[in-house]
Symmetry: C2
Subunit: 617 residues, 2 copies
């Protein structure tokens, strides 16, 4: 069925199936580095990483030993070459400040024409993104003007013959060009990557060019491999792939910061918007302020050392105030000439009839499919309108969500563990070149770390035990004081994984207050069947739970937390008819890329990251 | 690397890795139908499709020959059994109309207690979603009350021994239960699937239960297989998987109906909203009405027999009017005490700093990665706020988008063709049971159709030739009159694929007016390098193009169409620096599921479909 893998080691250079060029990986990632392909004629295409020019009278150049480096300062840039080679051009630049590629008309009329260039040989290191390795391409100045092909970022399509390099170096082969089929030039003064290597956070301002750097290209190849490994794991284990909806009316957790989806600009009834209203007697604003205040109290109660009863009371209080607000608003609506506020536009005028949001989490929808098809998973974007500037968070992130019918907490922990190991193993076995580059340039421990993950088993610690362990720590003051009922902070979790156990830690049986309403209540009535898998460097990478399959239990949880029951009726139906024990988990895919690469910020591993105030294309 | 496939034909029944049950497919989809597993003890779990009860004194039941059927009227439903078996219960139902499972208190107090039930044997047909086939489970009434386990939709987890069926039938094995480990009951009067088979459009009202029907479960298994086949095709051909953003500021086509993304309810400045404004002199509303009118004119020009110049003039006119509207709105904003309308909320107060939308198409973002990594694809949800009630459209649909550097129109046509054939072949080879069910219940021609698609090649027809061919058709009046420059309607396309060529048709070189701004202009100056692949039954399933790689050409297209150039600067950068010929295409994934299954409405092949007015969970 499967067509032949493009990376297989065939004796001839196989052109890419859908154009006549040969992918560089099929030359450079062979066992022999391409030696067996010497004397073959090929077409290759790619972008210039660095370049050198040697005039015929000089000695052959000392080649860079390091094909990986993008723009090392020891490499001579195009401008430098031009400056040193033709003094006339240097003068031209000094006097008129014009660009070398496009001298102004004025410059041409004043300065005498430059001397015809000496014949030279250009050495280009070329990448086409298929591999971290680069191919050296040798171009005589007689077949292409050096100034056009040498700038970093220039695209060329070139035909030539593979040969052994004329001087020793790390490459087994180079390409002697005899025909340049295409040149895509660079506007030198505007191209952001033509200077020295940029730090990752500056690169984020140029997301359209980022994948042209060796660093981001490598990360994206690893990301792509992780994506395929995910599909492969679930295929091997007979899971079905279900695409859960992005647009939803369901708040998965009951308290998420969600993005609103609307087509306001088309559907809002103009008349309704032309006036504003104030309700008489009690002002709606006063009630809304009260809602805000009470919400804050609940937040604080959740965080601090509150007991459960105080929290439940506060939530019920909030629910009543919310009801009052709704009544006031409804009264406002029915008065003639009154409208809703813009922040509560009448949704009956909208594309969708209810309030619709971008999904925070697909597990509730996935449960519906698990309770019919058995074992299912989903891989897609999830959204949180979180304004905090965390390195581990972006507004749009990809998640792998898993749900299994006829399973319990321990089953989803087993599955999560095995999935995580599978991903680590996949990268070691399928991304050898890329992971070597990561070890060299980002994180020297990354290969060891992945190997360890495959060998060692995770530490299993109940929440209570974790609290005990952390309370006994003496030489460290945590920002939040721990006792039963308080959620573990990132600081606590990192301390467990990085300092105490030095391996992945699975913390389970959390107090019900710190987990969503749908998690199954344990027999102690206090804890729920949830777990977090915490790994060194990254923190919580997987969160999972056994869902509450008992209708009465989940109903009272919904009531306890003051959630709008009518929104969850479809979900409760799964308990009403043919209910079954089931469990699952979520892997934060972007954090998995961080874990593998050792990078610190998700913005550097997401193709076009979105966060508070940032969505530029 | 890969763990053993769960469907492989091992001699022992392999329990599912992450719980101790055995998936039914590992029993029923073996070559021998499970014969070799006779006498093995297994745990299985699933949901009841249909059931029969036989009292000890009766003869053994005549088993349904057709494990596929969900709820055939010839099968006796639980209520019918209860009615016929115990006359007392029948009386109870007639008199009080109460439910059998939960008789009212009143009923209990009036009617004498039912006689103790006779010992009986229950025959259940069980599905667990892993296969279209069902397993017969035989349960003695002594180990579970028949009334609890017999209703359609009941979930059971059961332990027993596989054996040859006591009477002849289509199944090679059945399970003799000796322990019921779990029962998830059904509330008979509320469960929508407990009645006779529901038509697909009624099922849409119960999206949480749909996958429990054999039909939707089968479709979703095929959908899952297509999803994996997609990943597999691109892996085999050395493409990288790139996740393009869902939230975007870029309008891919320049005229799409997009969903707005906002966090209005948090960020809007209350003071600004408390007043409204009217601009003096020219009313903003008047100008806006003009914009609407002019937009309609353009739409009509596009559809009718307009020449290009008239269209361009109309577009420029619209642009000017739009500018005037913006100026008026800006003036409104700067006056003290004035606000924006709710439909144009000041985005500086928003989560993102510019207007942000749900992406219509990811190809522009994908180009950025193709122009660095070479060959890339993306698989994810795309959005259109289209209010038309088309069977081929939903607000949220999944697309496969492909982009290849160093390639031209013909290359993307080749790739599209091969990808399409690969998917057809994959389904025939990997979904044998499911596709047989589809042939039996939905579309008897589906297997032949898929086989044909693999064998025959697509018909290649230029747009001009297609227009000629269609104008010569005599025995058919099309709703839209054709001449050069008019877009082909669904009616035209279907006629070409279904009646004239009777195979996939690839129409290429469209007039530039009917394709987006980014498509490459051909040398004739009139047509562009775009193609559509039209298949029988479904219509356009793939659309592709070679992108315009020349900065000057794409710049003038943007100007010609009056698009906001500043929004596309990042995209133009790809032409400014290291440009390259590149091409790609989009496969409408949901339509591919329609094509394979022969179903007519995308709402029946999307797990939770969203369309105008419909997003219920």
């Amino acid at each position: 069925m499967a067509s032949e893998d493009a990376t297989s080691h065939s004796p001839a250079a196989t052109p890419f199936k859908f154009s006549n060029r040969v992918l560089l990986k099929t030359i450079l990632e062979r066992g022999d580095g391409g030696m067996e392909l010497v004397n073959q004629r090929v077409v290759i295409g790619g972008w210039v990483k660095s370049s050198k020019e040697v005039t015929k009278s000089s000695l052959p150049p000392k080649l860079s030993e390091d094909g990986y480096e993008e723009n090392k300062t020891k490499d001579v840039t195009c401008v430098e070459i031009l400056q040193s080679r033709i003094p006339l051009i240097r003068t031209l630049i000094r006097v008129f400040g014009g660009s070398v590629n496009a001298p102004s008309k004025k410059a041409e009329s004043v300065v005498p024409k430059p001397l015809p260039p000496q014949p030279s040989t250009v050495y280009l290191l070329l990448t086409d993104g298929s591999s971290v390795a680069t191919l050296q391409v040798v171009v005589e100045s007689s077949i292409a003007p050096p100034s056009k092909i040498m700038p970093t970022g220039t695209c060329i399509l070139v035909e030539g013959v593979l040969r052994q390099p004329s001087s020793e170096g790390k490459h087994a082969v180079e390409l002697k060009a005899d025909k340049i089929l295409h040149i895509g030039t660079v506007e030198l003064d505007k191209y952001p990557l033509s200077k020295k290597r940029l730090p990752l956070d500056s690169l984020r301002d140029h997301s359209q060019f980022r994948p042209r750097t060796t660093m981001v290209a490598t990360v994206m190849r690893i990301r792509s491999a992780l994506s395929f490994a995910t599909k492969s794991f679930f295929k091997d284990n007979a899971f079905l792939d279900v695409q859960v909806p992005t647009i939803t009316t369901t708040d998965c957790e009951g308290f998420s910061k969600m993005f609103h989806v609307a087509t306001l600009d088309k559907k809002v009834n103009k008349k309704k918007l032309d006036t504003i209203y104030e309700t008489e007697g009690v002002s709606l604003e006063t009630v809304k302020d009260a809602v805000k205040e009470k919400s804050n109290i609940i937040e604080n109660l959740k965080r601090s050392e509150s007991n459960r009863e105080a929290l439940v009371a506060a939530i019920q209080d909030l629910r009543k105030t919310n009801e009052l607000a709704s009544q006031l608003e409804a009264r406002g609506k029915t008065r003639s000439g009154t409208i809703l506020k813009a922040d509560k536009v009448d949704s009956s005028e909208e594309f969708f009839s209810g309030g619709t949001y971008l999904t925070v989490c697909g597990r509730l929808h996935l449960e519906s499919y698990a309770c019919a098809l058995g074992n299912v998973y989903s891989f897609g974007p999830r959204f949180r309108a979180d304004t905090t500037d965390s390195a581990k968070h972006a507004a749009e992130m990809w998640m792998v969500e898993v749900e299994m019918a006829f399973s319990q907490l321990k089953d989803s922990i087993n599955c999560a563990n095995e999935f995580f190991k599978y991903l680590c193993k996949w990268i070691l076995e399928n991304c050898t070149e890329d992971i070597r580059f990561v070890a060299k340039r980002i994180d020297s421990t990354c290969i060891y770390r992945l190997e360890q993950m495959i060998k060692i088993s995770s530490e299993m610690v109940s929440y209570s035990a974790a609290v005990e362990v952390l309370r006994k720590v003496e030489n460290k003051n945590f920002e939040t004081n721990l006792e039963f009922g308080v959620d573990l902070t990132t600081e606590h979790l990192s301390y467990l994984a990085d300092h105490i156990y030095k391996r992945p830690v699975i913390i389970y049986n959390y107090p019900k207050e710190v987990k969503p309403f749908y998690v199954r209540l344990n027999d102690d009535g206090k804890t729920v069947a949830a777990f977090d898998m915490v790994v060194p460097k990254v923190g919580t990478i997987i969160s999972g739970s056994q869902s509450e399959e008992r209708l009465d239990m989940i109903s009272s949880r919904i009531q306890e937390l003051g959630l709008p029951r009518e929104k969850y009726e479809w979900y409760l139906d799964l308990r009403r008819h043919g209910t079954v024990k089931h469990s699952g988990f979520t892997l934060r895919f972007d954090l998995m890329v961080l874990f593998v690469t050792g990078l610190g910020n998700v913005r550097d591993v997401i193709p076009f990251p979105r966060s508070y105030g940032r969505a530029n294309n």
